[in-house]
Amino acid sequence: MSQSKWFLHPILIFVSSIVAVGLSLFLYIYWYLEVSTGLKSVIERASLDRDQILAPQTWVVILVLSVLVGIILMGIFTIFVYHQKTIQLYRLQRNFISNFTHELKTPVTSMKLYLQTFRKHELSREDQLKYIGYMVQDADRLSDSINRILSLAKIESGVYEDRFVAEDLVEVVEHFYEKNRPLFGRCEVTIHNPSGRSFPYPINLVLFEMLLMNLFTNAIKYNEAEVPRLDVRFEPKARGLHIRFEDNGIGIPRSEAKKIFRKFYQIGRAEDMSAKGTGLGLHLVESIARFHEGRVIVESKEGEKGSVFSLILPFKFPMTGSK
């Protein structure tokens, strides 16, 4: 068991060091008062000039001590917080490595299996084509995973700065869907634009399509409905443009709603490895949204089916008239 001993638990150490510091503050003051009263009586007995010796006020001493102890406490607290963050990051990292390994190994395993099968057996042309199709899909999956991690690295290092072109978002989404339709299989995708107007917005097309791809595939991947459905709605609101992605998938528990955008985060139990994927998709979505000065929020109707991801962009409506 890799469980560390209970007395090494960070919270326990934290609490006990606070108690120790507090206690020492109390003892400092207590002893100080004791010594100074002793001193006072000596002074009185020796009938010396009081002010000369006890010039530094008790007050000041207590104040200085308290301030110092306060600083120490703050220091401990800061170290504690950083420590916790480091541990959390480490855990996420481990989770990521294990999941990403799986994500990379699965398509490789499948491809290798089919290639070895081809070497071993003479299959009919029909079968060959079918399995070659599988291998192509596996290769795509692999390159998707690789692209994801690379583009995240690129966004984080700011390679995509200043490559924005104003495009109509409705058109972009429609075009994106048309282009990638085969990927979404039997999922019913509908794009609603009740206002009927266009929404030109400066975007980086490569990144924006990546954002769409992640939201679309999530809607299908985490879906157990007979016919997966995704509704994309453009809703102009006072404070910006909301693009809602509503699916009928398994939804997201409210407690997880904030966490899912964290890097490497995945719903599921790392301990029994029920989580899958890279844990990067939604983090990527959020990074891209922020890159476009927008943000992403998620609502999930627990109990009811499905979740709603909203991309909110600071769209200034007066600037453009309707078509």
């Binding site: 190994k105 099968t117 029994d272 899958k276």
Partner: protein, 245 residues
């Protein structure tokens, strides 16, 4: 030889490409193959179809492979199981072997090696089957007759003797008791108990487990309010333990 009967292999794998590729190859080798895409269907097919060998993936939706393995090992210690997993480090291998797997192969694997290992496992089983015909039963890691304190459980006849007298155990009770005995001294979470003991993960409340524990305490504890054997662990689950005699 008794080669009339095709040997059955159950492939538990949720990645459809991989599952199909394995099925293709095993079928070409002359085995009868079925695929289970998740843990619960694996357990169901294991019970209904009675395969001769199981190829098991660990990362599965709902019930993971290791829970499937433990559930099977409660009832069948002999069935050869080969784990095929992307988790290749020794930590995971050791875990797999400690739960009673026969062989462990890391992904990506070599096809020939995989097929040879499968063949070998099946051959060895056929040997032990020939010699096993004479000694009946004893296919589980848990002894037939189990004693703790003043209690006795007979897993063969499903009878138990406790402070309150003689108890006829139900099948489910016996299964859960076996799980506790096999994991003596180790904490078991309610979720794990549900997964391994019942074979499902979602949709059922962990209350089911609690009810069984209440019953066990009534059967085997002198004072059910102050359990000695079936202890609760706050926010973890339960642990079964006793002094060895």
């Amino acid at each position: 030889m008794a080669d009339f009967k095709q040997e059955r292999i159950l492939v538990v794998e949720d990645e459809s490409h991989l599952a199909e590729g394995l099925k293709l190859n095993l079928t070409l080798e002359g085995y009868e193959v079925r695929i289970a895409a998740d843990g619960s269907s694996a357990l169901q097919q294991w019970k209904e179809w009675r395969p001769d060998l199981i190829v098991l993936d660990i990362m599965l939706p709902q019930i993971d492979g290791l829970s499937v393995l433990r559930a099977i090992r409660l009832e069948d210690e002999r069935l050869p199981i080969l784990i095929l997993s992307a988790k290749a480090d020794s930590e995971h291998r050791v875990k797999g072997f400690s739960y009673g797997v026969d062989d462990y192969l890391a992904k990506p694997f070599n096809l020939d090696e995989f097929l040879l290992r499968v063949k070998r496992l099946l051959t060895r089983v056929s040997w032990s089957r020939e010699s096993a015909d004479s000694d009946a039963g004893g296919t589980s890691s848990v002894p037939q007759l189990y004693r703790f304190g003043s209690n006795t459980i007979d897993f063969e006849t499903l009878n138990a003797q406790g402070p309150s007298g003689r108890i006829a155990l139900t099948e489910q009770e016996a299964k859960l008791l076996k799980l506790f005995v096999a994991n003596r001294g180790k904490p078991l979470s309610r979720d794990k108990l549900l997964e391994i003991g019942w074979g499902y993960s979602r949709g059922t409340t962990t209350r089911t487990v609690d009810n069984f524990i209440v019953r066990f305490r009534k059967y085997f504890e002198t004072d059910p309010k102050k359990p000695v054997y079936f202890k609760s662990l706050r926010s973890v689950g339960y642990v079964f333990d006793h002094d060895s005699d």
